[in-house]
């Protein structure tokens, strides 16, 4: 038997199962329930938002819960006004179906309707809404970045209906839903994997579930390494390509072209650049200027997102292209960075041969280093993310390092949980806020717990710390 895709199999059947967007859900249900007292002022609701946030699911679940018969059409399947009218005209003038159940009309994929070519289509829908005796629900997938343009385009539809915006699902809720699904299909998934999938989905639950299915199929257990093996490799290739081209770009125009054509999203691009800049620019002035440009790019991006004024994104492009990409002039790249770093660690360069190789900077000892020097070089190399290549008898420092996932996620779940519980215990006993407790008290507690067991024991009892908390404070 062909199994359904998970996104379908785990589609919510009831409104309670629909994840996120509580406020939008309430408004939608309130409107739908108002039909029980007669035809309301707004005869249609328009659900819109980015993909995978549960627009269609919400309608299907609501129809289930409130006992409606759902008549579903795709706006883009019925391009001509005539067809729409034929299909919907009759349905919309009858409140109940032949079986006596109330009817609900869902017009999906409204975004497929182009205002110019389908002028008639929009008109027909407008007419339908004016006359309908059954609730009509319009559903449109609108990418956040295109929202303004789209709202302009469908102004009339928005005016005549009750517009309800659905927003991307918060990371924690996506992760929670993935956890549920994983446990229902009996796959053991590392917490970090769930978080990473949730972050990558950018609030698109369907994509997150699809990704989970892709990595989980045929496995009993998924670790972060499995995930990285599957997904990160592509990103790494895209990123290497983009960064290599960026830093060899000669003009602003060229650099902008590279940025807009990369398959990475802006956050990823900024992450990759951020992670790698200090390994590309060894000249302090160039590094400082490039990081400042990156910081400014990030500001423009944050402003664009906060104010939903996406025209501001072009300044982010300029900073990334002009400020970051064209910053490379004097710097010698990774070779210069490695040299500078070794020198700063007090390591003599004379017994070492440094070379640019396709796989990275190779560092070959040209004579016997002695244990102590070898160790010091090894430590310096490792702090640059490089390692000893046993076979080639050399160290290799790779050109690019992937951004650390943890950074986007702050700190691990365990650490977060510990900090939270210990700091709230400290806060209430010491009459301070939890954030002050994290900042001022936890470091002090750590020192006490790591050096004076007797004092620690007394404090543990006073604070009513549990075994895990004591252990966490006591480890180095």
């Amino acid at each position: 038997m062909e199994e359904q895709p998970w996104a379908e199999r785990f589609r919510p059947r009831t409104i309670r199962e629909v994840v996120g967007n509580e406020e939008a859900k309430d408004r939608f249900l309130e409107w739908l329930r108002s039909w029980e007292d007669g035809i309301p002022e707004k005869r249609a609701a328009l659900l819109y938002g980015p993909p995978g946030v549960g627009k269609t699911s919400l309608v299907v679940a609501a129809a289930n819960d409130l006992g409606y018969d759902l008549l579903e059409v795709n706006a883009s399947d019925y391009r001509t006004a005539k067809r729409l009218k034929e299909i919907l005209g009759r349905a919309s003038t009858q409140q109940v179906t032949v079986t006596g159940r109330r009817r609900l009309i869902l017009i999906d994929e409204l975004e497929g309707l182009s205002s110019r070519e389908d002028r008639g289509g929009v008109e027909t829908i407008l007419d339908l809404i004016r006359e309908t005796r059954a609730p009509i629900i319009l559903v449109a997938t609108v990418y956040t970045s295109l929202r303004e343009a789209w709202e302009r385009k469908l102004r009339e539809l928005m005016k005549l209906s009750l517009p309800i915006e659905l927003k991307p699902i918060p990371v924690v809720e996506v992760a929670e839903r993935l956890r549920e699904i994983a446990s229902r299909v009996g796959v053991e998934v590392e917490e970090e994997v769930l978080e990473e999938l949730a972050i990558r989905s950018e609030g698109d639950l369907r994509t997150a579930i699809n990704d989970l299915e892709a990595v989980a199929r045929g496995r009993r257990r998924i670790t972060l390494q499995d995930l990285e093996a599957l997904g990160l490799r592509d990103r790494q290739l895209y990123a290497e390509e983009a960064l290599r081209r960026l830093f060899t770009a000669k003009t602003l125009q060229e650099a902008k072209g590279i940025i807009s054509s990369t398959k990475l999203n802006y956050d990823e691009l900024i992450d990759w650049i951020y992670e790698n800049l200090p390994y590309i620019l060894d000249d302090p002035r160039e590094l400082s200027e490039a990081l400042e440009a990156l910081a400014r790019a990030d500001i423009h991006k944050a402003r664009a997102e906060r104010s939903q004024a996406y025209r501001l994104l072009k300044y982010m492009f300029d900073e990334l292209a002009g400020g970051v990409a064209l910053s490379l002039e004097r710097s010698q790249g990774l070779l210069g960075v490695v040299e500078r770093h070794l020198r700063a660690m007090g390591i003599p360069l004379s017994p070492l041969k440094l070379e640019e190789r396709p796989e990275g900077i190779s560092i070959i000892p040209v004579r016997y280093l002695g244990r102590d020097t070898w160790r010091r070089v090894n430590m310096a190399v490792r702090s640059l993310g490089g390692s000893w290549d046993r076979e080639g008898r050399r160290w290799i420092v790779g050109y690019l390092r992937p951004p650390r996932i943890a950074l986007r996620y702050w700190w691990s779940r365990e650490r977060r949980r510990m900090l939270k519980s210990i700091s709230s215990k400290a806060a209430s006993r010491m009459h301070i806020s939890t954030s002050r407790a994290i900042r001022d008290v936890i470091p002090i507690l750590k020192i006490i717990f790591q050096s004076d067991p007797e004092m620690a024991e007394g404090i543990a009892e006073w604070m009513e710390l549990d075994g895990d908390e004591v252990k966490w404070l006591s480890k180095g």
Partner: protein, 328 residues
């Protein structure tokens, strides 16, 4: 056996035990005698006795069971003014039993509330004024809206003097059997300034780390393991041009220690101001820090902003080594 953190253990229980802030204490004592209280607003820097004063006042007013008559909220820990309002409503609904007709609600970090939330708070204060007095605590009175200020008696707490801090540390060291050298006291004071809570915490950590024999070296070793010391190290690494290492340390502060970017920035600022570098450079760096401070409010990613600042420090270090070629 259960034992409190020293900062708690040696917190004065009664107004009589408070050794400093004499003028404030004497005014508060008068309220206790009259068994009446206006709304209070305590402002001043951290660790100077604001919370201690109101707890001691409550103790003197209600007796040893004073905890039944007060509620402590920390504005920065509560989720929004509505939650606060609900809690206040629940607490202030009933008048207390006994000869004092009101309870006391203590709201710490009240200055972290938005102006809008403060207006809502003011309405709540008015509604329950018969059964409940409010004691608002904060660092800056300018951040408290005028209508609240005008309804409160304002008490301004000043930082403790070096002498007061050291006297208090000496008393604790003696009772806890800790030997502290004079330069040990100097080091603790130097780090904590007039913040007594910080000073006592530092003393306790230093005592734990040294088998109760504290000198300046011990204090500095302990500081190297708490945030200010690590921030200092991060700045030194940047100035030396070790940007990659400095960034690692920054990450560790933000990620491992869970510090807020604003706190890291505040520490960077106070460290930079203490650096032995040309004044002109200090001003330039202050400007850069101020810019980052503003950007943090704009929703940009803190780590990138702070890293850009570290790169500026690295550049400043380079310029100083290069004879200040492009300074200014």
């Amino acid at each position: 056996m259960s034992s409190e953190m020293w900062a708690e253990k040696y917190r004065p229980k009664s107004l009589d035990e408070i050794i400093n802030q004499e003028e404030i204490v004497s005014r508060l004592k008068r309220f206790v005698e009259e068994r009446n209280l206006p709304h209070l607003l305590f402002v001043g820097p951290a660790g100077v006795g604001k919370t201690t004063a109101i707890l001691a006042l409550a103790h003197d007013l209600y007796g040893p069971e004073y905890r039944n008559y007060i509620m402590e909220l920390n504005a920065s820990d509560e989720r929004g003014i509505n939650v606060i309002r609900e809690k206040v409503k629940f607490f202030a609904r009933t008048a207390p039993i006994g000869d004092v007709p009101f309870k006391i609600l203590i709201m710490d970090e009240a200055d972290s509330l938005t102006a809008e939330a403060q207006h809502a708070l003011r309405r709540t204060m008015e509604r329950y004024t018969r059964t409940c007095r409010f004691c608002l605590i904060g660092n800056y009175s300018e951040r408290i809206i005028e209508p609240i200020q005008s309804r409160c008696s304002i008490f301004r707490f000043s930082p403790l003097s070096e002498e007061d801090v050291k006297r208090c540390l000496r008393m604790i060291a003696e009772k806890e059997g800790v030997e502290v050298s004079p330069d040990g006291y100097d080091a603790i004071y130097e780090e904590s300034r007039g913040d007594l809570r910080k000073a006592i915490n530092l003393l306790q950590a230093a005592a734990a780390a040294s088998g109760r024999r504290v000198d300046a070296d011990v204090v500095y070793a302990v500081l190297g393991r708490v945030s200010p010391g690590r921030v200092r190290e991060m700045i030194q690494l940047s100035l030396k041009g070790e940007f990659i290492e400095a960034r690692e340390l920054l990450r560790s502060l933000l990620i491992d220690e869970g510090m807020a970017a604003e706190d890291v920035l505040r520490m960077i600022y106070s460290e930079v101001m203490r650096l032995d570098i040309p004044e002109r450079l200090k001003v330039r760096l202050s400007d850069a820090i101020g810019e980052v401070d503003y950007r943090l409010t704009q929703g940009s990613r803190p780590e990138i902003q702070l890293s850009a600042l570290l790169a500026k420090l690295a550049l400043a270090g380079e310029e100083m080594r290069g004879g200040g070629a492009a300074l200014g």
